[in-house]
């Protein structure tokens, strides 16, 4: 299954390499990794999605914590959260097709960024399946080019802990019980 991690890291050179290298070295497959600034200039925030089973997800979390520059890891897979991906899609359109495609974009609440005689460039933001849905209906027209940012994610409500170190439940034991410890 897809696991989504929010990872707070020190905003320092080379930290992205350390995180990426960890996933490569431990043979975890990254599906998507995004990184950007946060409300604190000294902290960067990554959203990482990984195709992994439950045990692997726990190992990923524990291994991320082993990186000295990693401040906090939250596995928000089973949390109520907002997940967004952004895509720009360039579709080939003839004069006759243009209005159809504009109509489809409207249904998906996508924006048109650029109109050319034989193409349309559309921007769409949303959960991944929404973007996949738009792509499916655009494909018959001919998708000339596409770029996606990868997902960013945030917990709903005021629950988000932010980049603060604190106690964490990191894994379950052989009986499925939480193994806890304090930091």
């Amino acid at each position: 299954m897809m696991n989504t991690f929010v990872v707070y890291v020190e905003n320092k050179p080379g930290v992205l390499t350390r995180v990426a290298s960890l996933f490569r070295r431990r043979a975890f497959n990254i599906d998507s990794l995004t990184v950007g600034r946060t409300e604190k200039p000294e902290v960067s925030r990554m959203t990482i999605t990984v195709d992994s089973d439950y045990d692997q997800a726990r190992r990923i979390e524990a291994n991320l914590y082993k990186l000295v520059n990693v401040i906090r890891v939250d596995n928000i897979t089973n949390e109520s959260s907002i997940v967004r991906d952004l895509a720009m899609i360039k579709v080939a359109v003839t004069h006759e097709q243009r209005s159809h495609v504009l109509e489809l974009a409207g249904v998906f609440r996508a924006r048109v960024l650029d109109v050319a005689p034989d193409s349309l460039t559309i921007e769409i933001t949303g959960a991944e399946d929404k973007i996949d849905g738009l792509l499916d209906v655009l494909r018959p027209y001919g998708v000339m080019e596409m770029v996606r940012t990868g997902i960013v994610a945030m917990r709903r409500g005021a629950k988000s802990p932010g980049p603060v170190a604190s106690a964490s439940v990191m894994f379950h034991d052989a009986n499925g019980q939480d193994v806890s410890y304090s930091v």
Binding site: F171, A174, Y181
Partner: protein
């Protein structure tokens, strides 16, 4: 009153040595070169003793041996490019065995980084996966904090190697030196973990319910300094103790509850006890594949308790029922007052019965038939040195396993060996580090003829530093362990394993090291005694049985109970040839 140096202006190189001194460093192992020259120039103002090695790999193993023998942090220094890449094997060795070392490398000037300049290597990139953490320092003002952080990270939590790569200009330029103001700033680094109370309750319940428990004692006991606590725990709960290779010495070999080494070359009764157990209590060990054999059949009826400081080790190889994440010594302090003392004589007796069965196959119980066996050499060496404060430093291969079987370690830090990475060439330089850390100890290198030739250039370092180190080469003319695998699994096709060797005694003499060659068992004890009495290093070249085999053996992928046992009697096997 403020320290005079606290606010003075210094070069990055000067700050480097000053910070090392403040971290308690008295000796570093290194090799100079272009990009580290400013640091070597500034060394003249430092009280630190620099030991010139013959290869940078040697410097890292020396730092490692220093750390393992003395419990401090070892320091190795090298230049950029090839100097730095030569350190890679030693860093990986320290990483897999959780050994705290700090490696300092010079780097080309910061303006030249990325230009493929002469002797430029991205060593922080190269060592990323084999260091606990690493740093690239491009300004003199970053030196102090980086050194303080590096030492803190190296020795705290689960220890490991840290590399500091310092550009030439960062060494040369000056800045204000402020030790107090350069405190570590590591917001994400939390080495001090402790288990939640309910984990203790669950662990105690399992311990008190168990009928056939076994303690698995690892390197973490020694790192944590929990020897006393483990002994109290085992004695109070009446639980037998099996040790990993790196755990040897953590629990006295002569203790009635000591079963001996477990795993691939563990004695049969140890592995059977683990397979029959209903509870395994893993103390500072990580269920390495050399210890578990096939995971599918590993201790199938046992509940497992894992006491471990590194959360990433929990459930990595073996799923456990209770995990106590934290410092072993502290965890045992919590557990000890609550441990009950049930009668476990039935369980201990059943292990003893297994032991009696295996002991008759033991080469040590067989008469001297004129052949010199490595097991005899090592056992005789143990008998001669057992009453002294001895550190044995072994290399990797057959001799390493025989040492683990036949040298009985009573105390922690009396065996230094490369376990996780299995680095041939480790022993000789690591022994130099061990001797520097504990000059009063008697240091013995036990090394194969293959591994010795990988780093024998450090003989010169021994002479240069006038170190009293005794070297026992277990010379069988083969890469013995590889040959053994070829014998068992490749139809005796001894591909590339026979060795053409120099006369090691003459080689030692060329360095000015006293030497002897031994071919008979009767010569072992007198020659060992000569070496012990000799006022300087001595090398003994033991010509041992060429096609001898380490038994028992759990083949890779086999279950821990599926051992290739010693043939009985072994004497006939040897004379068949």
């Amino acid at each position: 009153m403020k320290d005079e140096k606290q606010s003075s202006t210094m070069t990055g190189a000067g700050i480097l040595w000053e910070c090392l001194e403040r971290e308690g460093v008295e000796t570093v192992f290194g090799y100079p070169g272009g990009a580290i020259l400013p640091a070597y120039d500034a060394l003249k103002h430092s009280k630190i003793h620099h030991i010139l090695v013959r290869h940078e790999q040697g410097a890292t193993h020396m730092a490692d041996g220093f750390a393992r023998a003395g419990g401090g942090v070892g320091v190795a220094v090298a230049t950029s490019g090839p100097g730095a890449t030569n350190m890679v094997t030693g860093i990986a060795t320290a990483m897999l065995d959780s050994s705290p070392i700090v490696c300092i490398t010079g780097q080309v000037g910061s303006k030249l980084i990325g230009s493929d300049a002469f002797q430029e290597t991205d060593i922080t990139g190269v060592t990323l996966p084999i260091t606990k953490h690493n740093y690239l320092v491009t300004h003199a003002s970053e030196v102090a904090r980086t050194v303080r952080e590096a030492f803190y990270v190296a020795r705290s939590g689960r220890p490991g190697p840290v590399l500091i790569d310092i550009t030439k200009d960062a060494q040369q330029t000056t800045c204000a030196f402020d030790w107090e103001g350069a405190e570590p700033q590591l917001p994400g680094y939390r080495p001090d973990l402790s288990p939640a109370p309910k984990e203790y309750d669950e662990a105690l319940e399992l311990i008190h319910k168990a009928k056939r428990p076994v303690i698995l004692a690892g390197h973490g006991i020694i790192i944590s300094g929990a020897m006393r606590e483990v002994r109290d725990f085992a004695e109070r709960a009446g639980i037998p103790v099996a040790l990993t290779l790196l755990g040897l010495g953590a629990f006295p070999a002569s203790h009635p509850l000591n079963l001996g080494m477990m795993g691939m070359h563990g004695e049969a009764w140890v592995n059977h006890a683990i397979q029959d157990a209903d509870l395994l209590i893993a103390l500072g060990m990580r269920f390495d594949d050399r210890v578990t054999g096939n995971l599918k059949t590993y201790a199938p009826n046992a509940k497992k308790i894992h006491v471990e400081i590194d959360p990433a080790e929990i459930n990595k190889n073996v799923k456990v029922d209770v995990a106590l994440v934290g410092d072993l010594r502290e965890v045992l302090h919590e557990l000890l007052p609550r441990i009950e003392s049930p009668d476990r004589s039935e369980w201990l007796d059943s292990i003893d019965r297994l032991k009696g069965d295996a002991a008759v196959h033991d080469i040590q119980n067989l008469p001297d038939n004129g052949h010199l066996y490595a097991a005899h050499v090592i056992n005789d060496l143990w008998r001669q040195t057992r009453d002294a404060e001895t550190i044995v430093v072994t290399d990797v291969g057959q001799h390493q396993m025989w040492e683990a079987q036949y040298y009985k370690h009573e105390k922690e830090r009396s065996l230094i060996t490369s376990g996780g990475l299995g680095t041939m060439g480790f022993a000789l330089p690591a022994a130099i580090g061990a001797k520097v850390a504990r000059p009063e100890a008697e240091v013995w290198v036990i090394v194969g003829d293959g591994g010795f030739q990988m780093t024998m250039s450090e003989l010169a370092t021994i002479v240069q530093e006038n170190l009293k180190i005794n070297i026992a080469i277990i010379n069988n003319g083969y890469l013995g362990m590889v040959r053994q695998w070829q014998e068992f699994f490749y139809e005796r096709n001894y591909s590339a394993t026979p060795l053409l060797n120099p006369d090691f005694a003459k080689l030692a003499e060329a360095y000015g090291i006293k030497a002897a060659t031994v071919r008979r068992r009767s010569e072992v004890v007198p020659t060992v005694d000569t070496a012990r009495r000799h006022d300087g290093p001595m090398l003994i070249n033991f010509h041992v049985e060429q096609e001898d085999t380490v038994y028992p053996m759990v083949a890779a992928g086999s279950g821990l109970h599926e051992m290739i046992r010693r043939p009985s009697p072994i004497v006939e096997t040897a004379e068949d040839e």
